[in-house]
Amino acid sequence: MAKQEQEVRIGFYVCHCGTNIAAMVDCPEVAQFVGTLPGVVLSKDYKYMCSDPGQELIQQDIREHRLNRVVVASCSPLLHEPTFRSATEKGGLNQFYFHMVNIREHDSWVHTDRAEATSKAKALAQAAVHRVAHHKPLETKRVSINPTTLVVGAGIAGIHAAMTIANSGKKVILVEREPTIGGHMAKFDKTFPTLDCAACILTPKMSDVGSHENIQVLSYSEVTKVDGFVGNYTVTVKRKPRYIDEEACIGCQDCIPACVFKQPKFADEFNEGLGKRRPVYIPFPQATPQIVAIDPNTCLNFKKGEDGGRVVSDKCKKTCVEACGDKNAIDFTQVERIEEYEVGSVIVATGFQTFDARRAPAYGYGRFPNVYTSLEIERLVNASGPTGGHVVMRDGKSEPRSVGIIHCVGSRDKKTNVWCSRVCCMYSMKLAHLLKEHTGAEIYNFYIDVRTPGKGYEEFYNKLLDEGVHFIRGRVGEVTDWAMTPDEEGKLVIRVEDTLAGYVRRIPVDMVVLATGLEPQQDAQDVRRMFNMSCGSEGFFLERHPKLAPVNTFNDGIYIAGACQGPKDIPDTVAQAGAAAAEVLALIDKGFVEQEPNTAFILEDECSGCKSCIPLCPYTAILFDEGKGRAYINEALCKGCGTCVGSCPSGSIVQNLFDDEEIFSEIEGVLAYE
């Protein structure tokens, strides 16, 4: 490496970012101050450093003033570090002679005192100027991209993304934790606002996925571990036992009626518990894959094991096995299998869960049988649902003559979830329409605001008004069975302040539907950690940029699509899934990624071989050379997290861009500012 003796000549630029920075930071003053620091040859403020003239300014100054270091104080490096590094490189310098100071997100946007904010900008700039003097020239390295993609979650988002990628000729591994793909959409009856039958548009796509030569569906499986980095991930998948040999099962379903349980007896999850199934079952007729599953918790051939799990008891007559005959697809000895897959990129499309209506106890879900969640109604009005589309109440016979639909249950509520779930207004109106169509009942919608921001959505609302569906503006106080008048006897009474009429009303109905909101999956935090993503405060996965990188995450090669990123309807979900697929295809087509050279390396002569670092590496990038008695880092696996660097007891691990000289001089720089 060339000697660092060469005189350091720093060019410093402070960006106004229009008024984003300049309104709170006195940019000319910062430039004037930095100009007085040792090593700084020129110091300028400029309205938009990221603009073409701004970048041109850097390049010109490098040439004219023989700059060999560049510092820009502007926005977050996430946004424009690549821009300025590239400008530095075009100016003829190694791009890592550039350093960026964030005086927008870290300063002007978060402070209210202009003098203090200006001081902070100066201190941060001084730190950068101290640091950049120690920068060394570095080279990025290219890593090839494995063209196989993992899609996690096979709801409509995962299905669409998988199909898009597979249709381009690339391999996809689609993992779904339920026995069938399809997700929430498979449970819906119709879709708003067009009233297309959900199954009619989804199930063909499902079977296409199931039979696609480029898609490997791993149903009833979960991702448990992710190692590696963009382009080269190793994913561990847990295959849960369904006690059916997936190769041998032909989907004839002869085993189901042959079960020793003559009648279906157990709550059917797919039908939200409104129907019954046997221990051997298929979630719904068009399930993909067309393979049955055996539920060990209800099957008589299993008993409680010593560790609380289920073990084979062999106590059942196994009439199902008889029915299966020489196909021999039923295998009670199946155990959980762990499989590993190599993929280059990942699309996380793990969806949402609906708000648990019991958390809003005033609405009586679980107490009053005829209070339903919206998802239950989806099944109830569905022709392939537990009642064949016949809307009857929980007694199994009476039809509702009047229905109240309560919006925003678990949405826009400071006590539970504060966000708007975006789809409830529309699906509530869809259900209102369907319930009216099926039963002719009077339908009341109780809403805070009707939100219809989508193509054809407002028109759908108007249509509902024309159909005579009632809309009452007001958040419902409670649902009660306490009758105050003979009219209310035997009814559920919805108490609400009608804020348009200006008084409190009591509306007796036969059936109450709670429009439950969308929230992150129970295990979203585990998934987030596994894929090294971030979450917003509400728990949905965080996109890299809300506007400009909506399906990217902060982890390269990991993309998000659908409601795991935030509540959204089917069109938006599909659009996002397509966008995520496009990002993946762009990555695969490029064939390689440039890796930030911020990797760590071990000083071979100085390492004492104490092995302290080895178990700490989250990427298992550190190995031990028994011959030399020294540890070494596999640079291709190193992500530059710095864990080993901090922990090396003899200081024998160095991280590019973050060596001790750079970090300590940066600290000294910020502390030296009075």
Partner: protein, 328 residues
């Protein structure tokens, strides 16, 4: 031509470093053959005025051991710096502060109060404390002032080289003399010892598991240590991974874990922080209660991780202690 002059001096120290010079045994004759020892209070009688009378830089090298606690030590350090071509911090106390620097955890007043008033073994009914100056029947005896904090030698004067250890080994001492006399000197500021951590020369290195995953820590008196197994694998804090080698792994060969007297390698600014970072990251428990339970085996973290290095570390001292001043 007269032989080059060499001086030995001691400040806040225990005398162990002097022992090492004595431990050179017959090799000392070889040293004396080549140099004149012009100052060595532990063995020969000298007066301050003798040193003051010497010409500046007339001593080739002064090996000064002990930390700097009193005004007298500071004065002598400054004086010897002026008289010497090379000033060498000899031993852990001069280099890093050593055991005396553990006092930097306590205010001066607390130390004096304990030692002259509260110590159970004390017979001092008048609670008399040492005075800097006293009028006594026309005499005016002086005592050095007791400073606020213990400092390393290089926190007081410019230091050329460091010879580490508590005490330094005779081998290192001999090597340093050889370097001095041959003029084959390393760059200024060097520690004259290898720059690799102790594990490198420890016989137990191969027995260290890749993942020690500490479930408990025990101290040497609580457990009979396996004579061959890595101490860390036995749950004993061994400072070896964070400590410079060069001692010949004397302690670990004697079935005692390393306590860190050779200080950190040149690449580390804070030996205690480094070993803490490494040990704590390797604790098996990942929840706070479990971690706390494991750490109960280390009742005195400063005394364990900063036994020799407190004055020189980033912690250095209690934040409310001024670096200098007597506090009168």
């Amino acid at each position: 031509m007269s032989k080059p002059k060499v001086a030995f001096y001691w400040c806040a120290s225990c005398g162990g470093c002097e022992e090492t010079v004595v431990d050179l045994a017959e090799d000392i004759l070889g040293v004396v053959e080549k140099v004149d020892i012009c100052l060595w209070p532990v063995a020969m009688d000298f007066k301050y005025k003798d040193i003051e009378a010497m010409a500046d830089k007339s001593i080739v090298a002064t090996l000064l051991n002990g930390a700097i606690r009193t005004s007298e030590q500071e004065e002598l350090a400054v004086l010897l710096r002026r008289k010497s071509q090379y000033l060498i911090a000899y031993g852990a106390c001069a280099q890093l502060g050593g055991i005396p620097a553990l006092a930097n955890q306590f205010p001066r007043e607390q130390i004096l109060r304990f030692n002259y008033e509260e110590c159970p073994a004390l017979d001092n009914p008048g609670k008399v404390r040492p005075q800097v100056s006293l009028q006594d029947n026309g005499r005016n005896p002086h005592l050095p002032e007791f400073r606020n904090v213990v400092r390393t030698l290089d926190q007081v004067v410019d230091v050329d080289y460091y010879i580490p250890g508590c005490p330094p080994t005779p081998a290192l001492t001999r090597a340093a003399f050889d370097a001095l006399l041959s003029g084959n000197l390393p760059p200024k500021g060097s520690v004259i010892a290898p720059d690799v951590a102790l594990c490198d020369e420890c016989d137990r290195k191969a027995t260290k598991p890749t993942n020690v995953a500490f479930t408990e820590f025990v101290r040497p008196h609580q457990k009979l240590a396996d004579p061959e197994l890595c101490f860390l694998a036995q749950g004993m804090v061994c400072m070896g991974p964070a400590t410079r080698s060069g001692c010949g792994a004397a302690c670990t060969s004697g079935n005692m874990p390393c306590t860190g007297c050779f200080g950190p390698t040149s690449r580390v600014r804070d030996q205690g922080a480094k070993i803490l970072s490494s040990l704590c990251a390797n604790i098996e428990a990942k929840d706070e209660a479990g971690i706390n339970e494991t750490l109960r085996g280390i009742p005195d973290p400063v005394g364990t991780f900063y036994r020799y290095g407190l004055a020189k570390s980033l912690l250095r001292r209690r934040v409310d202690l001024n670096m200098t001043g007597g506090g009168h």
